[in-house]
Symmetry: C2
Subunit: 137 residues, 2 copies
DNA sequence: CTACAACTTCAAGTCAACTTGAGGTCAATA
DNA sequence: TATTGACCTCAAGTTGACTTGAAGTTGTAG
C-alpha cells in the first residue's frame, strides 16, 4: 500500500521533516508505522497537516490545535467549545478588518499624522471597543 | 502638563511595564522624557499602543510593526507597501473564514471522521487553493 | 556488493517576545 | 526621619516552535 515516507510528506505538506518529527513528539500527528527505522505515513496525514497549517496561521498554538483532535485522532472539538472557537475567529476577523481599513485609509488620507487624524482615530477606537465588547461577552 | 508614568500607561493600554520598556528598547515607542529616573509618557502613546496591539494580534511581528512607522515616529507605511500589507491581511481573513466555516461544519456534521467528510474536505481544499493562489499572485 | 541519499536519535542551539530577579533610586507619607 | 511603593538598570531566564549537528542506520541504484 502506498505509504509515504517523511520526505514525501514534507514535500507535499510544506512542513519540514524536523517539524514533522516535532509534531509527532507533541502527539499532533503520528505515523502508521516504521519500515526499518523510517516512519511510514498514511496519506491522510496530509489532510491533517493542511488543517494544522490553517489553524496555525489562524493564530492557534500547537497545543490549542492538539485540543481540536480527540484522543483517537479524530478532528473533534468538544461540544460547546466550537462556538467559543468560532467566536474567537470572528473576533480575529473583525480586528483584521479594522487593521486593513486603517492601512487603506493611510494610503488615501493626506493628514500629516494619521494617529491624529479623526477618521483614523475613529477606526482605531471602533476596533478597541469591538475588542472590549468581545472579551466581556 | 499631564504626562503619564509607566504604571498609568500600562494600566490604560494593557501592556505590562516590562513590555513597555522592551518596546522602547526596540524603538517602537518612546517616552517624552524623564522625571528623575521615571519615564514620562505623552498621552499619544496610548493610541500608538492601541495600534501596536491591533497589528500584533493581526500576526505582525514587532519588527514589521516598527516598519509601519517612519523614523520621525509617524505612522507611515512606505508607498506601495500599503497594498502589499492590505493584501496580506485580506489573505489572512480568507484563511480565518475558511477555518471558521470548517469548525462550524464540525458542529453540525454527523460524519464520524470530519477529515473524511466530503464537505469538510472541500472547505479544506478551497482554503489551501486560496492560499496557493495568493502566494502566486 | 558497495556507495550513497535519505532516513534515524538525541542534545543543544536559535529566535521572538517578553518576564523575572537582584540590587538600587527617589518622592511622599506616617 | 524612616519606610514604603513605584519606579530604575542590567543580566539572565522562559516559552513556543522549531532547527541544527553529530553520529549512526538502511533501502536501493549502479
Amino acid at each position: 500500500m502506498n505509504f509515504l515516507d517523511i520526505g514525501e510528506v514534507s514535500m507535499r505538506s510544506g512542513v519540514k521533516p524536523s517539524a514533522l518529527r516535532y509534531y509527532e513528539e507533541l502527539g499532533l500527528i503520528q505515523s502508521a508505522g516504521r519500515s526499518g527505522l523510517r516512519r511510514q505515513y498514511e496519506s491522510g496525514v496530509l489532510l491533517r497537516l493542511a488543517f494544522i497549517n490553517l489553524a496555525k496561521s489562524g493564530g492557534f498554538s500547537l497545543d490549542e490545535i492538539k485540543g481540536m483532535f480527540s484522543t483517537d485522532g479524530q478532528l473533534q472539538i468538544p461540544r460547546g467549545r466550537v462556538q467559543e472557537r468560532v467566536a474567537q475567529i470572528d473576533a480575529q476577523i473583525e480586528e483584521l478588518s479594522a487593521l486593513r481599513d486603517m492601512l487603506s485609509h493611510i494610503a488615501v488620507c493626506p493628514a500629516p499624522s494619521h494617529l491624529q487624524c479623526p477618521a483614523f482615530r475613529q477606526l482605531l477606537k471602533d476596533a478597541v471597543l469591538q475588542k472590549k465588547t468581545e472579551s466581556n461577552s
